[in-house]
Symmetry: C2
């Protein structure tokens, strides 16, 4: 059985939803960030990066959301979580998810975790100040150029939808003007109503 390490309010939500949608047999294990459990020797032995998510399989541990999502798609092909038979369409899925991890998530992280890239408190404060602008620009680009509708990739629900709603949870906290991204906001509402999403969100916040 798969073992899935997550923490609430993190990008692990995307993989958690995908595990549920795939119908995978998995055990979810919460990592307590409030006690810095992600930095204990026990957890670092699982994931030396000291972050979540981490998925323990019978072949070894997988980290990084876009990789875990692709792994779940390919391991549970009947769940049809990505267009596995279409090389170009799958590349579009990976492109979207890569943008989320390398640009959107990074912009967001400057609000809470500026210490990764600066020590001076004034610089960290300046990053916090600019984060809403950087995050808003990412969402505006997605709204205008990337989101096909009704789902991210068009008519077919995919891992992109699970990853997008993960960041859309933080729109208000990130200071994004919701009136400028109606498609993303409507997508969040529809995603939030899906049984798998409701179940996972409730479990993470319990």
């Amino acid at each position: 059985m798969l073992k899935f390490y997550y923490a609430p309010h993190t990008c692990a939500l995307a993989s958690h939803i995908a595990l549920e949608q795939a119908g995978a047999a998995y055990e979810a294990v919460r990592v307590d960030f409030s006690t810095n459990a992600q930095r204990t020797p026990e957890y670092l032995a699982i994931n030396p990066k000291g972050r979540v998510p981490a998925l323990v399989t019978d072949r070894g541990v997988l980290t990084e959301t876009p990789a875990i999502l692709l792994f779940l798609c390919q391991s549970y092909p009947k769940a049809r979580l990505a267009p596995l038979d279409d090389v170009f369409a799958l590349a579009q899925v990976q492109s979207f998810n890569s943008y989320l991890c390398s640009t959107l998530h990074v912009a967001h992280a400057h609000r809470m975790r500026g210490y990764r890239w600066a020590d001076d408190p004034a610089a960290i404060k300046e990053m916090q100040r600019k984060a809403p602008q950087a995050v808003s620009e990412c969402f505006a680009l997605m709204e205008l150029e990337m989101f096909k509708g009704p789902w991210v990739m068009g008519d077919t629900y995919s891992i992109c939808d699970m990853y997008l709603i993960t960041f859309a949870q933080w729109l208000e906290a990130d200071g994004v003007d919701l009136t400028r991204i109606p498609k993303v906001v409507d997508h969040r509402r529809r995603m939030s109503e899906l049984p798998a999403v409701r179940k996972v969100v409730a479990a993470e916040l319990a």
Copy 2:
């Protein structure tokens, strides 16, 4: 024929090498960053992100390095650029590449492009100061925990090797102590001798 937009000294190098290794028929088009060509309406019509790389295919445009690399692996399976028949091994490849785009590349970018996350010159300068430490931590983690040897994924040469050497080109400029990462440095030396790598690097710098 594929059309590949790149700029020298950018992460486009990884996809450029992969195109060559795949034996793909492609035209490489240089985007002149010195004149801000990536911000012209013509280029933004190709890639609204205003960045490189961008790969124009007969189905549409692909961006984001990990996605382009996977697309090339799957489009040219005979080149064996990734373990396409092994779901877990492929996920490991995608995990490594995802770490490069979302953590290593981001750490590096704080040395040159801090304006993405701050406006105050003092904050940008503070990011520049810390960048060597952040980049060094990424390379140390790769050296100790991720690099299998002799290639990134072990005995099999893959797209991970092409992506890693892209960042290893900048080790000195990023202020990384080479004596702490002997495996990465040796890998860079061996990669630099490959005909495909020599050809692409020469073409980009011509």
